[in-house]
Symmetry: none
């Protein structure tokens, strides 16, 4: 399900959007300030952000930049200001669309469909990847051993494995992994990586001490080798 983070300080707008979006089958999370938005996005990355520019604590473009620093999630900006310079500033800060209030809910929904439509083909079903004697299905988040038993992974283990498997053969830097899995602010905690990489190898690799697929590139990062 598409997960949308709605950021607005006006309770009635927040309420109206939440109801409308939920009715359309979206998974809605809300935040009523810039700081709360950044925190929510970091702890649980959404698939799309609807952001009101008139927030009490942070300037809207600051919030956009804060998000863009580590994620490419689509951002649709709502604003009461129709000025050209405001639009340009928000769009160049990294927003994908800019809707001027008052706006029709139909229009916002159509724009949400437009930007999410672009995203869908970005993940062109990579159905079955092999790691050792296991088959990993990213679509329905399952790992099956060749003997038929299932391997259970925790959310963090999944996030890390998925990041690696979605870049087959490519080096994923430690910083990138930490940012994508734990969020910005964790770039230094390389011990997390060692911890969870060991867990993944224990579960997936044939010989955890001599990994053949989940490869360490010393000093740089990790790599999934098909």
């Amino acid at each position: 399900m598409t997960r949308i983070l709605v950021v607005d300080d006006e309770p009635q707008i927040l309420r109206a959007l939440r109801i409308n979006l939920r009715a359309r089958g979206y998974d809605v999370e809300v935040a009523d300030s810039g700081a709360a938005a950044l925190k929510a996005a970091a702890s649980h990355p959404p698939d799309l952000v609807v952001l009101d520019l008139g927030l009490p604590d942070l300037d809207g473009t600051e919030v956009i930049r804060g998000l863009r620093g580590w994620t490419t999630v689509p951002i649709i900006v709502l604003s009461g200001r129709a000025g050209s310079e405001d639009k340009v500033a928000a769009l160049d800060a990294g927003a994908d669309d800019y809707v001027t209030k008052p706006f029709g809910v139909d229009e916002l929904l159509a724009r949400i469909r437009a930007v999410t439509r672009r995203l869908a083909p970005a993940t062109p079903a990579v159905p079955a990847l092999r790691v050792g004697r296991n088959t990993v299905d990213l679509a329905d988040r399952t790992v099956t051993r060749d003997d038929g038993t299932e391997v259970r992974l925790t959310p963090t283990q999944w996030a890390m494995l998925e990041k690696l498997l979605r870049n087959p053969g490519k080096l994923v830097s430690q910083r990138q992994l930490l940012r994508d899995v734990w969020g910005p602010g964790y770039e230094q905690e390389t011990n997390y990586l060692r911890q969870y990489m060991a867990q993944l190898r224990r579960r997936l690799e044939d010989d955890p001490a001599r990994p053949r697929h989940l490869i360490t590139e010393p000093g740089m990062g990790y790599r999934y080798r098909p």
Copy 2:
């Protein structure tokens, strides 16, 4: 260069957009009817389409559908009609953005930047460079010998090799290399360069004693010769 197809039946708007977009460094092609637009797009696919909905021959959404039938090129719609149903129809037909006339050129340009920004990472030039009997893939961070075995490089070796390979044929001064790889304050440690250049040649060059690609320019620096 980004190639933009502008579709509008009003000559003065066509002219204004062409001039403005050209001035911004875009490659502009124009069409004054829906039929002409479809034909132009087919014969020479653009990177982006700016489409006025009020065309004489075809309905705007028809043009969008005609394009969407075979291409995912971004489409920004211009329209004099601010009605919600028009926007929804155009966006759901496959448009990426909808701008209501009269619009500021600055805003249109910002929206063009916003949609093209999404496209850029789709074509990240994959530079596969050759050094001796090895293929260096800077994107994946891999070095593969012609016999299929992988060559492992340490972070410092990578940093140095990358700096040279990203400037093919160009001389990279010792100072520049030292600053980029080790940081400022190491400009005098030319022995590092000798040390690591020897390591790279040993791993990559056919005959490390007689390098053919990683060339020393005595007294100045090093050069990668393709």
